[in-house]
C-alpha cells in the first residue's frame, strides 16, 4: 500500500507538471483527491491494515494529500500567471495613437496676462477697482489737471458722446473715483478698457486695455514708487530684471517718469525685440500731482502718493510674440486655441 501511495504521488505529480489549463488541473484534482479519487480509494482500504501499519500509512497518505494539494495550488498560480501574461500581451495598444482630449476652453491672451498682473499686485496688497468706460470729461481730464484747451489733450484723441461725456481715454479717472470715495491709505489697481480715436493697424486699436495703479498714504516717496514697480517687474519677468526710469511728463503726476524694463529676451544686450536698446518701455508713472490730490479732497501736505499705468496689449504682444494687435480682437479660434 505504501508503494501504491508513492506511485499515486509519482503519477499525479508528473501529470500535474504537464497540465496546461485550469480545467485540466481540476480534473486531476478530482482524479486523485476527489471523493472518488485514487487517493481516497486507497484510504478507504485502510481498514485492512494492521494497527501498526495504519498510523504510518495514514501519515503518509495525509502527507501525500498535502503535497499534492500544494502542487495543485502552485500549478494553479503558475497557470493563472501565464494566462494573465497572455491576456496582457493580447491587450497591447499603440500608445502613440492620438489622445482623447477633454475639450477645455482657452483663456484669451489678454486675460491670461491681466490675471497674472492682478495676482502680482494682489499679492502686494493692491485691491482691484473699476470705473465707468463712458465717463465725464471732468474725471478723464479736468480732475487730472488737464483743463479744456490744454495741449496734453492732443496726445489722446478722444471719442466724445456729448460735450461733457466721452469714452475714457485712460484708466486714470479711476484714480479720481477711488480717491473721492476712499480715504488713505489707498492701494489699488484698476484695469479696464480705454478708447482712443486711432485707426486699426498692427500696433493701434481704437479700443485697448490699461491697468492703472494708485498708492496714497503718509510718507509715500518716489523711492516707494521705484521699489514697488521694480518688485512688480521682477515678478512679471524674473528676478534678474532691472528697471530704468526716464523723466517724462504727465499732467497728473509730478515728478513723472516712463519706466523701461531690461529686455526680457536678450537681458539687455540688445536684440530685435528691444530694437537694440536693451530696454523695453512698459510703464508710465509718477508722484500724484498735489493739485490732483486736492481735487479729490486729500490734503497734499499730509498725504502723498504715486500712480502708474500699464498698457496691457503691449505686455501681451511681448509675452506671446504677437506682431499684430488685430489678432487679439479678431478672435479666430486657430489663434485663441494656442493659449
Amino acid at each position: 500500500m505504501k508503494q501504491q501511495l508513492e506511485e499515486i504521488r509519482e503519477s499525479a505529480k508528473s501529470q500535474l507538471s504537464k497540465a496546461a489549463s485550469l480545467a485540466e488541473l481540476d480534473t486531476l484534482r478530482v482524479k486523485y483527491l476527489g471523493k472518488k479519487g485514487e487517493l481516497t480509494a486507497i484510504l478507504k482500504q485502510m481498514g485492512k491494515l494492521s494497527a501498526e501499519e495504519r498510523p504510518i500509512i495514514g501519515q503518509l497518505a495525509n502527507e501525500i494529500r498535502a503535497d499534492l494539494e500544494a502542487s495543485i495550488a502552485e500549478s494553479v498560480e503558475d497557470i493563472k500567471q501565464k494566462l494573465l501574461e497572455q491576456k496582457l500581451k493580447s491587450e497591447k495598444i499603440d500608445v502613440t495613437l492620438p489622445a482623447k482630449k477633454q475639450a477645455l476652453g482657452h483663456k484669451h491672451p489678454l486675460s491670461i496676462v491681466l490675471d497674472e498682473v492682478k495676482d502680482i499686485f494682489f499679492g502686494m496688497g493692491f485691491s482691484i477697482a473699476s470705473g465707468p468706460e463712458v465717463e465725464w470729461d471732468y474725471y478723464n481730464f479736468e480732475a487730472l489737471n488737464i483743463p479744456e484747451n490744454h495741449p496734453a489733450r492732443d496726445t489722446q484723441d478722444t471719442f466724445y458722446i456729448t460735450e461733457k461725456m466721452l469714452l475714457r481715454t485712460q484708466t486714470s479717472p479711476c484714480q479720481i473715483r477711488v480717491m473721492e470715495n476712499q480715504k488713505p491709505p489707498i492701494r489699488i489697481i484698476a484695469p479696464g478698457r480705454v478708447y482712443r480715436s486711432d485707426a486699426v493697424d498692427a500696433t493701434h486699436s481704437p479700443l485697448f486695455h490699461q491697468i492703472e495703479g494708485l498708492v496714497v498714504d503718509k510718507g509715500i516717496t518716489m523711492a516707494d514708487l521705484k521699489g514697488n514697480l521694480e518688485s512688480f517687474a521682477k515678478r512679471l519677468y524674473g528676478e534678474q530684471t532691472k528697471i530704468r526710469l526716464r523723466p517724462h511728463h504727465f499732467p497728473f503726476t509730478e515728478p513723472s517718469c516712463e519706466i523701461d524694463v531690461s529686455c526680457f529676451r536678450c537681458g539687455g544686450k540688445g536684440c530685435p525685440m528691444c530694437k537694440g536698446e536693451g530696454w523695453i518701455e512698459i510703464l508710465g508713472a509718477g508722484m500724484v500731482h498735489p493739485k490732483v490730490l486736492r481735487n479729490c479732497g486729500i490734503d497734499p501736505d499730509v498725504y502723498s502718493g504715486f500712480a502708474f499705468g500699464l498698457g496691457l496689449e503691449r505686455l501681451v504682444m511681448f509675452r506671446f510674440n504677437i506682431d499684430d494687435m488685430r489678432l487679439l480682437y479678431e478672435n479666430d479660434v486657430r489663434f485663441l486655441n494656442q493659449f
Partner: protein, 793 residues
C-alpha cells in the same frame, strides 16, 4: 524737435559721442527718439574736378570726362549730364561707393567705354535745390564757392552734409525746449557745462520805426506782447549755406533769406516770428483785436477763412492781415518785389490760440507752440536776433527802433526753497547746496529761502515741480528702491470673485474666451432683426466716430458674438464654442452716465453642438454658482432667435438668461452657413441670486428604490412640467428624476408622445418599503392623470 549738433555747439561745448549725448539727455528728461548723422548712407563719394570733356564716340549725349580726384592719376568717368564744363568741381562716386537710396556704384563700361564711377546730382546725395539754390536738379551738382573745393575730400565735408540730427520728443509742458537754446540749456545742465549765451547786437541805422508803424493791443488777455520792427530795402535772395544747412538739419526747407530768418529765429529761440509786407498795411497801423463775426481772410495757404469773434486777429485799420498766432494773410506775404517788411515777434494766449486753430482746422508750427503758452519775455531778444541776422545776411536795412507793446505780467513767480521737503517727497538725501547748484544750472535762481522761477519755465508751479528738477538732475537711477511698507489689506469684491467663477466654469465647459470691441455699427441692430421700436436701438452714440462700424456703444453683445462666429465660420474653422464677459451700454440721457451692464454671452456652432449643449453649459454655470429652482420657458417671439428653439430661464418673473438657436434670417445676415446657438446670462443676476453657501449632506445609509415610469401625453406638453408634478407628488423621499426616453411614432397615437422617467427615491432614516415607493409613485400617476397624462400600458 530735430536738433542740429552744429547749432547746439554754438551754445554749449560738448565733447561726447552722439550715443552718449542721446542717452544722457534721455535720462535727464529730454527724450531722444533717434539720432542720425547726415549723409551716413553715402560712402566713398569725393570731390573731383573735370579736367577734360570729350564726346562719347558711340553716343550722341554721353560725355567722357577725365576727373582729378586729388590722386596721381585722373580717372575716366562717362556721364550723360549736359551741364558740365572743364574746371567744375563735382561729387564723384568712386568704384565701390554708395549713393542716396543705397544704390551701389561700381566701375563698368558704358557703350564700350570704361567708366570708373559716377558723377552725382543733388538727388544722388539726398539733397534738393532748396539746399543749394544755385544747382540744377536734373544735372550734376557743380559745387559753388560756398563749398570746400579741395580735391579728393569726402563730399559730406565739402558741402557741409555732416551734421548730426537728434530727434527729441518734447512734452507739452516744455515749449522752451522746442528751441536750440532751450535744449542747449538742458544739455549744459546735463553735462555740467556752462551755457554760452549770446546777446544779439543790432548796429545803429537810419530812420525811426515809429514813423512807419504803430501798434495797438485791444485784447491784452489774449495778446500779452507785440514787438515789431521794420526793415527797408529788403534784398530777397538765398540764405548762406550755414543757415540753409541748419534749417535742413532741423527739418525746415530753406526758402529765401527773409523767410529763413523767421524760421531760424523760431528754431533758435522758440519764438514764432512773422514777416509781412508793409505796403499792404493800411495806415501802417497794426491793431491786435478780436475778429468781427463773419470777417474773412485768405491765409498764406490760399484758403479763405471765415472768422468768429473769439478769434484774435492782427489787423490794420480796415481788415485782418493775420490770424494771430496761427497764420498770416496771403496778400501781405513776402514777394519778390517786397521793399519794406515788418518783423512781428508777439506772444498770444495759449488756449485762445488753440481754440482758433481748432475751429479753423488749421494747425501750424506757430499755433502748436503758442498753445503751450510761450514766454512773453522772449519776444524782444528773438526780434533783436532777427534784426541782427538781417544785418549779418545783408538782407535789408534795419530801421532804428523797435515798437514794444507789452501787456505781459512781469511778476516773477517765486517758490519757497525747501530742500528737506524735496528730500522727503522724493525719498533722497541731497544737501541744500547741491539742490541749489542743480537749480542754478537750469537758470532757476535761489535767493536765500526763495526760488525765483525764470519766465521761460512757466511749468514750475509747485514744490513738486521743483522736486522733479532736483530728481532728474540728481538722477532717477540714484533714487533708492524701497519696498512698499505698511499693512496690505486687499480683498476681492463679490463681483470679482463671481467673474472668476464664471470664467473658470465656461473654460471648463469647453468654451474659449473672446474679446470684442464695445462699439458696433447701428446696422447691427438690423442684422439681428431688432424691432424698429426696440429700446435697445437707443445707443450711446459717439459724436466723432472713426467710421460707422464703430459708431455706437452696443446695447447688446449678441452682434459682437455673431461677428466672431461668422469670422470663424468664414475662415473655415469647423466649430467654435466661445464666451465673453463684457458690457452692454444703456443710454440714460445726457445728464447721467450710461448703465454699463455686464453680460455673459455664449455662442457656438459646429456639428457636435445643439441647443441642449448650450443649455447644458448655462445650467452647469447655475449649478456652480448655486442658482436653483429656475423655470425654463419657451420663447417664441424674439426675432433674433428661432421661434421654436429658444428658451428663457426665469427666477420668478425675472428673466436671467436667454438660450436659443439663432434665427435663420439672422444667420443669413451674418453669412453663417450652419446652425449657431447663442445664450446670454445676466451677470448681476448671478451675483444677486447665486448662493455659494453649501452644507454637507450625509452620504446615504439606506438603499434607494427606483421606479421606471412611462407616460403618454400630448406632444406639446413640456417635459419639465411632468417632472415638476412628479417631484411634488413624490415629495421628500424623491432623490432624482431622470428622463431616459422620449418617443413619437407608430406605437402611440398621433399627436401624442411617450416620455419615460426613472424615479429614484430614498429615505435618510430607513430602508424604503416597496409599498412606500409604490404609493409615492401612484400619487404622481394620479396627479398626472388629472392632466390627461396617462401611464403607458
Amino acid at each position: 524737435m530735430n536738433l542740429s549738433k552744429k547749432w547746439l555747439l554754438d551754445f554749449v561745448d560738448l565733447d561726447v559721442s552722439d550715443k552718449e549725448f542721446a542717452d544722457e539727455m534721455t535720462l535727464s528728461g529730454s527724450k531722444v527718439e533717434s539720432f542720425e548723422k547726415e549723409g551716413s548712407e553715402l560712402d566713398n563719394i569725393i570731390t573731383g574736378r573735370i579736367e577734360s570733356l570729350e564726346r562719347h564716340p558711340d553716343s550722341d549725349h554721353m560725355w567722357i570726362c577725365m576727373v582729378n580726384v586729388g590722386k596721381d592719376e585722373n580717372i575716366q568717368i562717362v556721364t550723360g549730364a549736359q551741364n558740365l564744363k572743364v574746371g567744375d568741381v563735382v561729387p564723384v562716386a568712386m568704384d565701390h561707393s554708395v549713393v542716396h537710396g543705397g544704390q551701389k556704384i561700381t566701375k563698368g563700361k558704358l557703350r564700350g567705354v570704361e567708366s570708373n564711377g559716377m558723377l552725382c546730382s543733388l538727388g544722388e546725395l539726398g539733397l534738393t535745390a532748396h539746399d543749394f539754390p544755385y544747382a540744377i536738379e536734373d544735372g550734376i551738382f557743380v559745387l559753388g564757392d560756398d563749398c570746400d573745393r579741395t580735391l579728393g575730400i569726402d563730399i559730406r565735408e565739402a558741402i557741409g552734409l555732416n551734421d548730426t540730427v537728434t530727434e527729441f520728443e518734447i512734452t507739452s509742458n516744455r515749449p522752451d525746449c522746442l528751441s536750440v537754446i532751450g535744449l542747449a540749456r538742458e544739455a549744459a545742465a546735463t553735462f555740467k557745462k556752462p551755457l554760452k549765451t549770446h546777446i544779439p547786437y543790432v548796429s545803429p541805422s537810419d530812420g525811426d520805426v515809429n514813423e512807419l508803424l504803430s501798434v495797438e493791443i485791444q485784447n491784452p488777455e489774449k495778446c500779452y506782447r507785440y514787438c515789431g520792427a521794420v526793415v527797408k530795402n529788403v534784398r530777397v535772395k538765398a540764405s548762406p549755406r550755414w543757415m540753409r544747412e541748419r534749417l535742413r538739419a532741423c527739418g525746415v526747407r530753406p526758402i529765401n533769406n527773409i523767410v529763413d530768418i523767421t524760421n531760424y529765429v523760431m528754431l533758435e529761440y522758440g519764438q514764432p516770428m512773422h514777416a509781412f509786407d508793409l505796403r499792404y498795411i493800411n495806415n501802417h497801423s497794426i491793431i491786435v483785436r478780436n475778429a468781427k463775426d463773419g470777417e474773412t481772410i485768405t491765409t498764406l495757404d490760399g484758403i479763405e477763412r471765415t472768422l468768429t469773434t473769439e478769434m484774435l486777429v492782427i489787423a490794420d485799420s480796415d481788415k485782418p492781415v493775420a490770424v494771430a498766432g496761427v497764420m498770416g494773410g496771403e496778400y501781405s506775404g513776402i514777394m519778390d518785389d517786397t521793399n519794406t517788411i515788418v518783423f512781428e515777434s508777439a506772444c498770444f494766449n495759449g488756449p485762445s490760440t488753440r481754440i482758433t486753430s481748432k475751429k479753423l482746422g488749421l494747425r501750424t508750427e506757430a499755433s502748436g507752440r503758442y498753445e503751450k503758452e510761450l514766454d512773453p519775455q522772449n519776444c524782444m531778444p528773438a526780434l533783436m536776433r532777427a534784426l541782427e541776422l538781417v544785418q549779418l545776411l545783408d538782407a535789408g536795412d534795419v530801421v532804428n527802433g523797435i515798437i514794444d507793446c507789452d501787456k505781459s505780467n512781469k511778476l516773477q513767480r517765486t517758490l519757497p526753497f525747501l530742500p528737506e521737503w524735496v528730500n522727503s517727497f522724493i525719498g533722497i538725501d541731497v544737501s541744500a547746496d547741491d539742490q541749489r547748484a542743480i537749480l542754478e544750472r537750469i537758470d532757476v535762481k535761489v535767493q536765500g529761502d526763495t526760488i525765483i522761477v525764470p519766465s521761460f519755465r512757466n511749468d514750475l508751479e509747485h514744490l513738486a515741480d521743483i522736486s522733479e528738477e532736483i530728481a532728474r538732475f540728481y538722477g532717477y537711477q540714484n533714487i533708492p528702491n524701497r519696498p512698499l511698507a505698511g499693512v496690505a489689506n486687499a480683498a476681492l469684491t463679490e463681483a470679482q470673485k463671481m467673474e472668476k467663477v464664471v470664467s473658470s466654469t465656461m473654460l471648463a465647459c469647453g468654451f474659449t474666451e473672446i474679446a470684442t470691441f464695445s462699439f458696433i455699427s447701428p446696422k447691427a441692430y438690423d442684422k439681428i432683426r431688432l424691432p424698429e421700436n426696440s429700446p435697445k436701438r437707443n445707443s450711446v452714440v459717439i459724436s466723432n466716430p472713426l467710421g460707422e462700424d464703430t459708431s455706437v456703444m452696443r446695447t447688446t453683445v449678441i452682434p459682437s458674438m455673431l461677428d466672431v462666429l461668422s469670422r470663424n465660420y468664414n475662415n473655415r474653422n469647423e466649430s467654435a464654442a466661445l464666451f465673453e464677459l463684457s458690457n452692454e451700454y444703456i443710454w440714460k440721457g445726457p445728464d447721467e452716465l450710461p448703465d454699463e451692464n455686464e453680460k455673459l454671452t455664449i455662442g457656438m456652432y459646429g456639428a457636435q453642438y445643439d441647443f441642449f449643449t448650450l443649455k447644458g453649459a448655462v445650467e452647469e454655470l447655475f449649478d456652480v454658482v448655486g442658482i436653483k429652482d429656475y423655470d425654463v420657458e419657451p420663447l417664441t417671439d424674439d426675432p433674433t432667435f428661432h421661434p421654436g428653439r429658444t428658451a428663457v430661464i426665469k427666477l420668478g418673473d425675472e428673466v436671467i438668461s436667454i438660450i436659443g438657436e439663432v434665427h435663420p434670417a439672422v444667420l443669413n445676415n451674418y453669412e453663417i452657413g450652419t446652425k449657431a446657438y447663442v445664450a446670454q446670462v445676466d451677470f448681476t443676476a448671478l451675483l444677486k441670486y447665486g448662493d455659494n453657501k453649501r452644507s454637507y449632506k450625509a452620504l446615504p445609509k439606506f438603499p434607494a428604490s427606483s421606479r421606471d415610469l412611462s407616460f403618454v401625453c400630448d406632444s406639446d406638453v413640456p417635459v419639465m412640467k411632468i417632472e415638476k408634478i412628479i417631484a411634488k407628488a413624490v415629495g421628500k423621499i424623491l432623490e432624482d428624476i431622470a428622463l431616459f426616453d422620449v418617443y413619437v411614432g407608430s406605437q402611440i397615437p398621433k399627436g401624442k408622445k411617450s416620455v419615460a422617467f426613472s424615479v429614484r427615491m430614498r429615505a435618510t432614516d430607513r430602508t424604503l418599503t416597496d409599498a412606500e415607493a409604490d404609493s409615492a409613485v401612484k400619487k404622481a400617476v394620479d396627479e398626472l392623470e388629472k392632466l390627461d397624462i396617462t401611464l403607458r400600458s
